[in-house]
């Protein structure tokens, strides 16, 4: 087990800088999820930790040791790839035993560890099959098995579930979480699925365009997003953004409505309110001209625009709601659920 420290990490390909001064401290046994849109540099960051990409500048430490120059084999890590990367010409057993065999571990010990991992992952019956004789979910387990038999200090996952169907993905997600808690191995998990990120991670590192937008627990990210990007990325359906003018603790919306809870902000700001925090209120200040309803069963999504403006607003209401298009509905939002951002920098305005 080990902690991982990223210090001022930069990665460039030719002239293009794809990771910009990434910092982060990962504690021993933590499950960290790196999340962000496609092309933001998640895989690159993970592969740098694995030793599959060189470090342009900065420092990666596993435990106390700086590993920048170490070969992947010497970093004591295991990685699960998106396409599983099983050895097609070897049986499941040989796939799992391969890393141990190279490390010259005794036959009996290898057999014991493979059996143990196979029991945990319930792949015992397939040990003598070739990877191509397995289903996607079974291959995924074998890839996990290959990682855990090695007993490494760190697990790295690069979108390991993205090739599975939705139902299996939810099931495997839980299993990975349980397995990690049971083994207590420090893990870094890359995904672009924010639900996966929220449910798996002890902490989330949100990357965007090679910058770390925020690094914190799922609840922190949800309750106090540090930037407009994080606010929009975390949560589904995503946060409403309304242009507003702040002053004297009040927020004036585009249509002149006024809300309390601007904190110290002043001047023009972007107000963020999550759909689920909009509460129906006949006399509420946020008046929405309804366009359509999405019935999800447990709740209803109300789509509309802020009355008298072009700003889209989505509200999520419990139960079944319906009204004619064009109806005006009133909403309020508690001051604690208002997020105020500086539109110029995209950063949160601290209360």
């Amino acid at each position: 087990m080990a902690s991982i420290t990223l210090k001022d990490l930069v990665k460039t390909y030719g002239d293009v800088e794809v990771l910009h001064h990434v910092d982060g401290a990962i504690e021993d046994g933590e499950f960290i999820v790196i999340v962000g849109p496609s092309g933001c540099g998640k895989s690159t960051l993970l592969r740098m930790v694995a030793g599959l990409e060189t470090v342009t500048s900065g420092e990666i430490r596993i435990g106390e040791k700086v590993v920048n120059q170490l070969e992947p084999a010497d970093r004591d890590i295991a990685m699960v790839f998106q396409n599983y990367a099983l050895y097609p010409h070897m049986s499941v057993r040989e796939n799992m035993a391969y890393g141990l065999k190279i490390r010259k571990i005794g036959k009996a010990e290898i057999e014991r560890r493979v059996q143990e991992a196979a029991d945990i992952l319930e792949i015992g019956p397939y040990l003598d099959r070739k990877p191509r004789q397995l289903s996607g979910g079974q291959r995924q387990r074998v890839a996990m098995g290959r990682a855990i038999v090695r007993n490494p200090q760190v697990f790295l996952f690069d979108e390991p579930l993205s090739n599975l169907d939705a139902k299996l993905r939810v099931q495997m997600r839980l299993e990975i979480r349980k397995l990690q808690q049971r083994l207590g191995v420090t893990s870094i998990y890359v995904t672009h699925d924010q639900v996966e990120a929220m449910t798996l991670g002890d902490r989330l590192m949100v990357l965007n365009g090679g910058y770390v937008e925020q690094f914190g627990t799922p609840i922190e990210l949800y309750d106090r997003p540090a930037t407009l990007f994080v606010a929009g990325f975390i949560g589904s359906p995503s946060m409403n953004f309304l242009p507003a003018t702040a002053g004297g603790g009040a927020l004036i919306l585009g249509n002149g409505a006024s809300l309390q809870g601007a904190g110290h902000a002043s001047g023009s700001v972007t107000l963020g309110i999550r759909p689920e925090h909009l509460l129906p209120d006949e006399n509420g200040p946020i008046r929405v001209s309804v366009q359509l309803f999405e019935q999800l069963g447990a709740n209803t999504l109300v789509h509309g625009v802020l009355e008298g403006t072009e700003t889209d607003v989505v509200a999520s209401l419990p139960g079944h709601v319906s009204a004619d298009p064009g109806t005006i509905m009133g909403f309020t939002a508690p001051a604690k659920d208002l997020h105020v951002f500086d539109p110029a920098t995209g950063r949160r305005v601290e209360e």
Partner: protein, 293 residues
């Protein structure tokens, strides 16, 4: 089930395939059938009369010491050429697969020998190994080797093997490189994380994963060594010294056009023809079907 598609019948499709069919008939089927016919004839020494003798030419070959020697020699030659050029190509492809910068240049240069005509390739090696003028005999002298492939049969054999193998490396290289590049990168990376060094990765993963290519090339190289090396032998040793490099194709030419034993030579070429057909069948049967890892 295949769907039947109906086209209006017309001459056009026949016209379009006609050139290929005519070429095949004139340059392949007709000479081949002539050879088969010839192989049943014996001509007297002055070429005045011919006699139809059925399989006598073949029976004679089966007991002819020289022919059987040549057969063994050809197999030795083919195995050496195939093993040498394939292993060289495999190693070069292994390196080419790893390098990133300058890969195109490296590849292009490696493909050049393939474009060299066999006779020219032979001439090149003759110059390099000329006992009095060549650079290699000069260098070999320093390590105490007296090189003269005009007198020494083993040296002559070595020389034609090198020349033939060298020319085939480029071809093998292309196939090996393509095979290696179709191995998913992540698989090799997984092996690296598992602790396998470059050599170990090559042995445990790359080599087994390119085995279908190896099998395919084995057949191709055998066919090449059996049939396409005439030009090289002709340019380098002319089958000598003392028949030391007379492989089967060269013997066909030698017996037929130099020795003027047309019937015997035709019988030899019929045997070669059967061999190439057999090898092609093997190739189609086993290579088309994917080799099981």
């Amino acid at each position: 089930m295949l769907k039947r598609v109906h086209f209006p019948t017309s001459l056009l499709p026949y016209l379009l395939v006609a050139p290929q069919v005519i070429i095949t008939l004139v340059f392949f089927v007709w000479p081949a059938s002539q050879a088969v016919y010839q192989s049943f004839l014996i001509e007297d020494a002055f070429g005045i009369s011919t006699e139809f003798v059925w399989f006598e030419n073949f029976i004679y070959l089966a007991t002819d010491e020289q022919y059987l020697d040549s057969f063994g020699r050809t197999i030795f030659f083919s195995v050496c050429v195939a093993v040498l050029s394939m292993s060289a190509a495999l190693i070069l492809a292994g390196f080419a697969d790893r390098i990133v910068r300058g890969a195109t240049t490296y590849r292009t240069l490696l493909i050049w020998p393939y474009a060299v005509a066999p006779v020219l390739a032979g001439a090149l090696w003759v110059f390099m190994f000329n006992p009095t003028l060549g650079i290699f005999p000069y260098l070999l002298e320093f390590v105490g080797v007296d090189w003269n492939h005009y007198l020494n049969g083993s040296q002559a054999m070595m020389l034609v093997i090198f020349a033939a193998a060298w020319k085939q490396i480029a071809y093998n290289f292309l196939f090996y490189l393509a095979a290696m590049q179709s191995i998913p990168r992540s698989l090799i990376e997984a092996a690296a994380i598992d602790g396998a060094g470059p050599l170990r990765r090559f042995r445990d993963h790359i080599f087994p994963l390119v085995s279908p290519t190896t099998f395919f090339l084995l057949v191709i190289n055998a066919v090449y060594a059996f049939f396409d090396t005439f030009g090289i032998i002709h340019a380098v040793t002319q089958g000598g010294p003392a028949n030391a490099t007379t492989i089967l194709v060269y013997k066909v030419f030698n017996d037929g056009f130099v020795g003027l034993d047309l019937g015997g030579s035709a019988a030899q070429s019929v045997i070669l023809m059967i061999l190439v057909i057999a090898m092609t069948v093997v190739q189609f049967r086993y290579v088309e079907r994917k080799v099981e890892y």
